[in-house]
Symmetry: C2
Subunit: 283 residues, 2 copies
């Protein structure tokens, strides 16, 4: 049955959905299990973690779409059991505000907070159709002319299980760093999707904004760039098909940099904007 | 003694400092009194409120400079008594994370939450000097060629007490809306300072990012543009002298828009970046 085996995964029934599932323990409290499938060099991807927290808040709040979500990363998450504790801060007709924290357990079983989130949710389908935008989609070649991890030698493939789960094709003009020739511009652009063909939705956009290699690589900086804080605005429900992600760093100063991401869908709509503040730990 | 009467107010001893003062009631809890001096048409300025919350967190946390601060505006603040309740979420060597809520009182004396903030603080003076930036200061004419409320007919001056407390001089190319000719670009640029001459510091930068007229005016949209969420990154301690603030809206869609602000100091350093998500309520 090759057709069935290669059919795209359905929204709500994909590996991403299963790995971000949260199970209600009591009102507002959810158990989850962070999957090792979304790690890179042992670190759980920050966007994947956002999606787990985002799903818990979507269940807690009367509105289901994240409009604006801010996360502060407090300590390093590890694959394994976790609990998400949510609080409904305010409910309104158009928007609801909530807070959530993800905890894991230390060796004595005590809860250790990994991430704290503050977010406002609404209903993307209830928004009017008006658009007045000067933003333009990023100039990025067709997917067939872009490059993913599978196109290179990938000596550390076993250290990057997340790569198998993403369809990530980088703009050739932003991969010079991989060949020892960073552009120095602080840019990263890519086509993004889930490898199993699941379409984008607001939760997967939370993953998309933090799934590309750090722009620091394009600035010629090796080493780790841990996120301190990340804020995402979801502006529209994405149309089916891969999205384009464009990330820019304009200001690296005092050991910190910002990464500004835009996500554009197949109908040329700006569906998400994000900014994160990250630290530079030179390798 | 005219010299004394016109000397600039000192950092820490200005009207802005007095009006954002917080008085410890018990550990982590602060009383304050929101001043009517920072209102416009009865609404308390969102940046002034951020500064009040920012000051409470600076007192609670072991670090005193806001590096990244996110606020969700839950209900309309009014001049008068308020209480700020803070929580220390995590303390680290370089960064500490805290949360704060500002409450006021309903007619029965019950606390009503106005704003919730999540923030990470550090020490700006401890950062290394490295800068690698492609960001450029905004092109804005000298102060003498820019315009403030005092330069116009100002029919509603008594409705804008905040205007007396700010030195706000708008770039002539972004004030067409005041003459019925908005540019349609969604831009607003101004020189910004405190009217009493107090120099900028990280707390006044929290005010600066939300002190200009809304970019919606430059898009030809009248009416109210309430902030849903605002995130500020303070990237450097500002040098003495007025700062330049540049605000841009690129995407108005579905009744929401983002406002991206940059603040540049007199030494051409990008000292703060902010983004807010705001709703458009057409007038």
């Amino acid at each position: 049955m090759p057709e069935a085996a290669t059919a795209p995964a359905a929204l709500g029934d994909s590996e991403f959905d299963r790995d971000t599932a949260v199970i209600p323990r009591e009102p507002g409290v959810y158990d989850t299990d962070l999957s090792a499938g979304w790690t890179i060099f042992g670190a759980v991807n920050g966007g994947y973690l956002l999606a787990v927290l985002g799903r818990a808040l979507a269940d807690t709040l009367p509105h289901s779409d994240p409009f604006t979500l801010t996360a502060h990363y407090l300590s390093a998450s590890r694959p394994g059991p976790a609990v998400v504790r949510t609080e409904t801060v305010r409910t309104g007709r158009t928007l609801s505000t909530g807070q959530a924290s993800l905890f894991q357990y230390d060796t004595e079983g005590r809860e250790v907070e990994r991430i704290r989130v503050l977010a406002s949710y609404g209903d993307l389908d209830a928004l009017p159709d008006d658009i007045c935008t000067s933003a333009k989609p990023p100039a990025i070649p067709p997917i067939s002319q872009c490059f993913g991890p599978e196109d290179g030698p990938a000596p550390d493939a076993d250290q990057q299980p997340i790569a198998e789960r993403l369809m990530l094709k980088l703009d050739p003009s932003t991969i010079g760093w991989a060949l020892g020739q960073p552009s120095g511009k602080g840019e990263m652009r890519a086509w993004f999707g889930l490898a199993d063909g699941r379409d984008a939705d607001p939760l997967s956009l939370l993953l998309a904004v933090d799934a590309l290699p750090p722009t620091a690589f394009d600035l010629g900086i090796a080493g780790w760039v841990p996120t301190v804080e990340l804020t995402v605005h979801v502006r529209s429900r994405p149309a089916p098909g891969p999205v384009r992600v464009s990330i820019t760093t304009r200001n690296l100063a005092g050991g910190f940099l910002e990464e500004d991401a835009e996500v554009w869908d197949s109908e040329d709509r700006l569906v998400a904007q994000s900014r994160q503040l990250a630290r530079v730990r030179r390798g």
